[in-house]
Symmetry: C2
Subunit: 468 residues, 2 copies
């Protein structure tokens, strides 16, 4: 959680006027000008009202040269939260520019979970530098979290928790809170976690209920009804899903013995949900899920090449199918003109089915109980839409090339390919999921191969049979 | 917020064993069996431990016939929260099956914001039925919220707020909380909102800080540093962005005069973020953003047809380009075999650039300050990847068809098309955003048209010039 920025007295009005939360280019330009003329006071004055998340966005938007000049000029003002808000792609560069003093002071401001999130992707030298900057207790906590696998609940949780034994009353809980020193409490918390003698979490009490109840009330009587305990090894994506599905605000994390070892709050779960979606969107388009706008040309090229290579193979496969029919094409060139239409329509229909299926798998809506109904639906949809466009293309073929036979052929091929598209678009992601491959990542290539091959084969094959 | 389900004593262990949160098909089968044999007690026993969100998922997974039988048998057990968790696509059917008594009792459990979310998409008759079921004050609150445009902060907020004047002390705030009747408080709250005499929100105090401070402490001294005020007309997508960007837990909503009228909590913002992402993913694939797995074949067909129609037009445009070169193809059939490769590679490269650009626009990372740098990057990436695959295809062309000239031609066309793909993939979404069209929705069609047309034209045009 980051609330290190000063409260702007005029925030409400200013907010009310702005149409959205984007950084205005004017502001960015003003900052860069202050950097150009090396006017530190001006820079600090401009940056001071900005939230660390906005400063991070600003650093991502300017080029590498301006970035390092800005950071050097900003100096000790540099806040630890800016680091945790930065895209991983430029974190290393930014940290490299920070002086040891600035880095030390910056990371000491952070919660253990933010430090973990910050250093897990850094190379060893920088990890050492940051761990070295921490106090011993803090360092121990961070290393503890790092012992859990990446993307696990154990990595995501923060270790500061507020717990109470089952037999406590409201009064005892409140006194406990009052007497706990600030630094032993999470900087924000919303529940007291009730634990049994074996430290197993048994329930949540919200601070609101606590505050409104008589001191003598047993905590037991105030437990929230929705309560989810998260194993430390649970994947962070599932954690985000649980928070969204069950409207959790915070949830206790337990070790293999079910003992309470930390807590995850909804704002961290929301950030994970955001990242997971981002990854899915990019992967569906054949872009590495980690890609960001601040990647260099080299990084971007490397991230995009593999998928294009896969696509080249599928495209060549399609070409080979076409080459079987060179003779037919040589005799009826209209086939070459029309064949991309069948393939392209199938490809689009397939992508539609595929995307719906991939999302439904991610949201756990597509399960063994309804997969066949969904596949039937997708094929039916393919059949109907295929029929519609079959008629259209039949007419186009007839009018354009004056050949009814050509019209029938393209119409038939269209129907065939769009039914196959519905089948492949749903079946392939489901199969990939079964064998443990991320459907968002791999489905696209398979489905387009199927629709290209079937499209060209059906159209050219029928044409060869009917027209020659 | 929904916490209506009973606490499962064995929840922790059970959770720990499960690998994720999906409904097990076994469970669904057991429920359907209980419905078949009309064993109400068994059904209630099976459903009782389920969270309303899970029951909603279950209702979405079974077919319409089983669904209505299940609901009838479940009867008065039917919980209002199940309705708010249901996909809009089947809400109407479910509500139609509920008896008036069940419906009345169900909606009375709900918070005003949940009722709003529930009825905003229902047809008038059902809206009346539900509004009729509410107490007058509740109904007034709901109608108030409905007066704000759909997808606005006003619709999203809940009207129950906890506020305190600037001059209050911790003691006064706590006493106020103690003395406010349960029903006037939000069922969960995490902050007290401090307001000035004009009811303008000036800051947040977390319950944790409140509880740990001396009664005499002025609330002023406990204000959180991060504080965002949300205008009621602000788009809900921007609200979700602000919560995620600034790690907000709850934020006050104000009217045009800046007066406090409600509050939005992070769990609602998280749900919006989830929906917005869902919409973008589906739209990028040419599927109506509202599509769900429980749509009927008819609904699905209707939702998919428009995009396929657009695609047909672009495919025909590409065919027209090809038809310009019928002669060349008739003489060198290899052109028909190879031409789809150039178009397909361009299409994929374009989709990659496009998706990155659309996401960057949505996350406000792509702005006037860096758009040109990004476009330059995308073109450079297109050039490099284009060159790589140009070499590959040049060799393929040479080896496959034994014609060096054909190799040069396809290589050159590949480079041209992939640079254009980078340019169009970034430029088109940016332009669409500028003119106020959702780039996620419309970019795809334009970009593929460009890459198809350019791909075929460059390849066939060069071939005609060089080979004939």
């Amino acid at each position: 959680m980051s609330d290190q920025v000063e409260l702007q007295e005029d925030a409400p009005e200013e907010e009310a006027e702005r149409t959205d939360y984007a950084l205005e280019p004017k502001k960015v330009a003003a900052v860069l000008y202050a950097v150009d003329i090396e006017d530190r006071d001006k820079l600090v004055e401009l940056m001071e009202p900005l939230h660390p998340a906005d400063i991070a966005d600003l650093l991502e938007q300017v080029n590498a040269f301006d970035r390092s000049r800005l950071i050097r000029l900003y100096g000790m003002e540099f806040d630890g939260d800016i680091l945790s808000e930065l895209d991983e792609s430029i974190r290393e560069d930014v940290i490299a520019v920070l002086t040891p003093q600035v880095l030390t002071q910056a990371v000491r401001d952070l919660d253990s979970d933010d430090v973990v999130d910050l250093i897990e992707d850094l190379e060893d030298a920088q990890q050492e530098a940051i761990l070295g900057a921490l106090e011993d207790t803090e360092r121990a906590a961070v290393q503890q979290s790092l012992s859990y696998p990446e993307y696990s609940a154990g990595r995501l949780m923060q270790r500061e928790v507020v717990m109470a034994p089952e037999h406590w009353t409201v009064g005892e809980a409140i006194d406990h809170l009052r007497n706990t020193p600030e630094e032993d409490l999470p900087d924000q918390f919303y529940h007291i976690i009730m634990v049994d003698p074996r430290l197993h979490p048994v329930g949540n009490v919200t601070l609101g209920k606590l505050m409104r109840s008589k001191r003598a009330t047993p905590l037991k009587d105030l437990l929230e009804q929705t309560f989810q305990v998260i194993p430390a090894m649970r994947d962070e994506g599932d954690v985000a899903y649980a928070f969204n599905q069950y409207h959790l605000i915070s949830a206790p994390v337990v070790d293999d013995e079910g003992r309470l070892i930390g807590v995850i709050t909804i704002d961290d779960a929301m950030a994970v949900l955001d990242e997971e979606h981002e990854e899915d969107i990019l992967r569906l388009a054949g872009v590495d899920g980690e890609s960001t706008l601040s990647d260099s040309v080299r990084a971007t090229t490397r991230r995009r090449l593999p998928w294009l290579a896969v696509n080249l193979v599928t495209a060549i496969a399609a070409s080979i199918v076409i080459s079987f029919f060179e003779e037919a094409i040589a005799q009826v060139v209209a086939l070459a003109v029309l064949m991309p239409i069948v393939a392209s329509m199938g490809g689009n229909a397939g992508t539609q089915s595929l995307t719906v299926a991939v999302r439904a798998i991610a949201t756990k809506d597509l399960t063994g109980s309804n997969v066949w109904r969904v596949i039937r639906r997708e094929c039916a949809v393919g059949l109907i839409n295929g029929a519609v466009f079959a008629v259209v293309m039949g007419i186009v073929g007839l009018v354009w090339f004056g050949s009814p036979a050509l019209g029938y052929v393209i119409a038939a091929a269209m129907v065939i390919n769009m039914v196959i598209a519905g089948l492949a678009g749903t079946g392939i992601p489901v199969l990939l999921e079964k064998v443990g491959v991320d459907p968002a990542l791999a489905s696209g290539a398979f489905v387009t191969t199927v629709t290209d091959v079937v499209g060209f084969f059906a159209f050219l094959g029928l044409a060869a049979a009917v027209l020659l």
